[in-house]
Amino acid sequence: MIELSDIEKSYRMGKNRLRVLRGIDLSIQAGELVSIMGSSGSGKSTLMNVLGILDDYDSGEYRLDGTLIRGLSETKAARLRSRYVGFVFQSFHLIPFKTAVENVALPLYYQGVARRKRNRRAAELLERVGLANWSQHLPTEMSGGQKQRVAIARALVSEPKMILADEPTGALDTATSYEVMDLLAEIHAEGVTVVIVTHEPDIAERTRRIIRLQDGVIQQDSEVPQEPALSPVAEVTTPAVAADPA
């Protein structure tokens, strides 16, 4: 699904170049649930932008579902984005003057889907995230958790191969955060690749694989041991994660 080899990226800061990604090799298979962790400045947001075709990179190779993503025009990038990637942002980024259902339907508008069809599809997805009764509400009338669920519905509406979530729980309280994570886990269970960028260990813990980034390189790439849901030994696995300095 995602193949990164030796990705480098630097930003120009006045006369200096700030190397943000310094040779990333990473492979994510279709259907994985992955979290990318790292402190601020580790390059995790940049990596996410590269993955989401929101930003270009300087050298290396990024293949998304076999397609080489490099030096694309904005128009081409937009096409690929709308076909492969659904975004979820920390601050939701819903369009404030559109109702929930209109927000969810927007990606389909840019894919040229007919109005009736996309509204039906958006309504389905709102129902799926448990907001069927909120479809005609504006984002300003909703709680943070509800907004994020609308955003997730919007990310899903175009049936992307991959959901990219940038700190999806960053603006939410713990209980709501877990609800959102459960929703993302459900989506993953349906076969969608989910990549979550976070700095919260307990959020990362709820994924299957954790990729730790430090100073622009992958420091650690580990599976999260999965225990049978009802196993009382669940706590045993936690120290491996808790030992993380983050």
Binding site: N49, G52, L54, D55, E74, T75, A78, R79, R81, S82, R83, F87, F89, Q90, S91, H93, L94, I95, P96, F97, K98, E102, L106, P107, Y109, Y110, Q111, R115, R154, S158
Partner: protein, 409 residues
Amino acid sequence: MFDLDTWQEIFDTLRHHKLRTALTGFSVAWGILMLIVLLGSGQGLERGVAHQFRDDAVNSIWVSSGKTSLPHRGLQPGREIQLTNDDYDDLRTSLPGVEHITSRFFIRGRNTLTYRGETGNFPIRSVHPDHRHLENTRVVLGRFLNAIDVQQRRKVAVIGRIVVDELFGARSPLGEPLQINGVVFQVVGVFEDDGSDSEMELVYLPISTAQRTFGGTDHIAQLMLTTGELDLETTNAMAGEILDRFSERHRFAPEDRRALSVSNLNAEFQRLLSLMDGIRFFVWIIGVGTLLSGVVGVSNIMMIAVQERTRELGVRKALGATPRDVVSLVVQESVFLTAVSGTLGLALGLGVLELMAAMPAADMFRQPGVDFSVALYALALLVLAGAMAGFFPARRAARIRPIEALRDE
């Protein structure tokens, strides 16, 4: 490109930015409104001035005679100079530059007109057919005098609207016998004059008929001729030529202003033309200025609007909008807004002009009106400006990578 969905998007955005929409709409509508009112008033002023000078300032030369005041070649001053048909014939046949020429003969005493017992006193002008070009006489019924009337000394008359009203009432005067000082004339035409009512009290007769019937002479009182498109210098030369010829024939000193008055109205005419040009120029300068300030206003608001929406446009891009989608959204929005409010301003402006036109005409201001195509051009220009004002900032916004637009910091 303009499908229902696009409209929906446009309406959504406009509805949710009411203040901005209102301000942009207002500045466009106001600009067009002011422009229309200005152009219309300019025209009103122009027509008012033209009306004021309508009788005095035509491209013509007027000749009339008086008494000599200077001795000349042994002749005493105080001698009466009398113009005759010979003078008319001379100018008509051999003076270069003459466009239309006529002479006038006045009938002495009161002129009593009678038709079937109805009687009235009206002034009479005995003229050549070309006279109508000097007074802008507009024939509304029948015909004006013609060359054959003059040649055959026909007893025909062309009468003004007021004469018709007073003597004929509702009856058509065409072909009717009209007694003028006891002599029967046949009415062949009725005229109106845009200038003033007193012009419409006139009766025109063929000059030859009047000379024979009422005076038995070949005298004429006045000679008038128009000079067409000739410039001031040429017409001044013509006036000099007339003075030279007449002083030779009638034996008076060329510098004797009392003996013969040759007034060249072209000078006034030129002054009027340049006054008109001045008004037109002034109106255009202000009009262009008004339009320009409208354009600047629209550009300003659109620029701020796009800046304000950078994040929203970034979200749209992350959701799959191409740069083209983003640019066309903003441009269509701004074109739609300027077109609608511009049309509104146009309609309002035309309404204001209607109101102004309905008020009684003042001395220097009448019949304000606007060239509709000019108004449409102005509207198109403003819409174009609106499109550009949307296009450039939108293109810049579309180039920004979505991450920059979406950055939380």
